[in-house]
């Protein structure tokens, strides 16, 4: 008999093993919600799948007469706009600052401690400041995402850049490369896969900041809707929304990982062969 730690599932086995907990959880929920529904049809805490599907259909397909738009799509568009803008700013600034801090000791000495200090401030604690300073509009929400994820990404990329083998940096210089050329041709391309990895890891926190900001001050958005319908205990709307948010996050994660594999095959040697 093999040791437990040496037993490896095959491809099919892995699929079955991975799907099992999901199926068990869904089945358990279905049984529990049906039992609740049979005992009390007005029960709201554990809505049945049928009830959730009905409400999801209403939110995703029917025009809300008050606003003249379809709520799910309007919320999604608003939230993704904020998320995308925030992440784009965070990604661009972390790439720029991460490379600069990682490559240039002068800048590392100047801004390293500052970035380190900023990155330990809990972003949610700054949210009131942002709302006071920038009002309740889009700027404060986008800034919360930027301030929430950028410092961590900057530190990660600066550390990664500084950890590039010094032999490579020296070698580039012996081939005549200037500081700019080392940054452009040696550091930047090697940092890109790490940037994508860092962005993938930041998706979770970014959603947290997005939904927090929307919950507190907003009139549209996924987080706004979830916290709005909470007042009516509308679990049949909240749960499909949560599932939709999770699906979006998984989708972005998959797309980013595919981009990295396609664009930087040398960074994924196991997948390339």
């Amino acid at each position: 008999m093999k040791r437990l730690l040496n037993i490896r599932p095959g491809a099919g086995g892995r699929f079955v093993l991975g799907a099992a907990p999901v199926l068990v959880a869904l089945a358990a929920y279905a049984i529990a919600s049906q039992a609740q529904h049979d005992a009390n049809p007005a029960e709201k805490i554990l809505p049945t799948f049928q009830a959730m599907a009905r409400q999801a259909g209403v939110m995703a397909l029917q025009v809300d007469p008050q606003t003249g738009t379809i709520p799910l799509w309007q919320d999604t568009a608003a939230s993704l706009m904020r998320l995308g803008t925030g992440l784009a700013i965070a990604t661009a600034s972390s790439l720029l600052l991460g490379l600069a801090l990682g490559l240039l000791p002068i800048l590392r000495g100047t801004f390293g401690p500052f970035v380190a200090a900023v990155s330990v401030v809990p972003p949610i604690a700054i949210l009131p400041i942002l709302f006071i300073t920038f009002g309740l509009g889009e700027t404060a929400k986008v800034l919360l995402i930027v301030l929430g994820v950028a410092p961590v990404m900057i530190r990660d990329l600066a550390g990664f850049t500084a950890a590039l083998p010094s032999e490579q940096i020296i070698k580039a210089q012996t081939l005549g490369a200037s500081t700019w050329q080392v940054a452009l041709r040696v550091a930047l391309p090697q940092v890109m896969p790490r940037l994508i990895e860092s962005l993938r890891l930041s998706l979770g926190p970014a959603f947290v900041f997005l939904i927090s900001a929307e919950a507190i001050a907003s009139d549209v958005g996924l987080g706004y809707r979830v916290f709005l319908v909470r007042r009516y205990l509308a679990m049949d709307i909240i749960l499909p929304y949560v599932a939709w948010i999770a699906l979006l996050a998984v989708l972005f994660d998959l797309v980013l990982s595919q981009i990295s594999r396609r664009a930087y095959p040398w960074a994924h040697p196991a997948a390339g062969r």
Binding site: Q168, Q173, T174, L175, W180, Q181, R185, W266
Partner: protein, 264 residues
Amino acid sequence: MTAPSLLYFRDVAVQYGDRIVLEQVSLAVEQGAFVSVVGPSGAGKSTFLRLILGQEAPSRGVIHLEGEPLAAEPDRHRGVVFQRYSVFPHLSALDNVVFGLDCAGAPLTGRLRGPRRAAAAEEATALLARVGLSHALDLYPAQLSGGMQQRLAIAQALIMKPRILLLDEPFGALDPGVRKDMHGLITELWREHGLTIVMVTHDLKEAFTLGTRVLAFDKPRHFDDGGRAYGSTIVYDFPLDKGAPPVDPATLATLKDRLDPDQA
């Protein structure tokens, strides 16, 4: 006055705080020499190489390259091949070799285009063929064996036609058979290109097989102070050119004993 030596050290010392690594290093290396540098671990071989490279500055003394004070940072006149991490993992073999030409010809974009790129690629391809990598132009370093990666690193350095080529235990991580092939290759390239080479190695046989001159670094004095107050220096300097006196076997045995006491 005769032409200055290619590389010239006068009373060079390197000191970190109160720890002296190298002291009283004086040396003249002539154009076309193949200098092997040996010595026990911690004897300052790598520090010596970093000094020539400009990666480190001497605490005292003077270093000249072709009669001029040595630039205090690495540049294209001093090529280098390290034991590892010498090539860029994100570039194909061809792009690794073109890299130096890219930097020289395209200061802003770092990448040649059009006919200049084609000319550079042709030059790089010829050099890669010379080191036996014509079948691997489009492969990434991770797809090459250790020996092939070192061939690539050598071609990459040679395309800049450096005045001096520094090798830091370049064959230390290779299998014995591959190492032997590499010895043949580097000797051929040294002759064909009229290179001046300084190679650090911990393999005494390799040092004497390849070099026209062997420098041995060690601490010359006793260790009654834990070796702190005294640095290493060149304790032996064997010329191996034609007409040079034969190496004294007793000295060689002493050296062997210092280098790997286990095998003596």
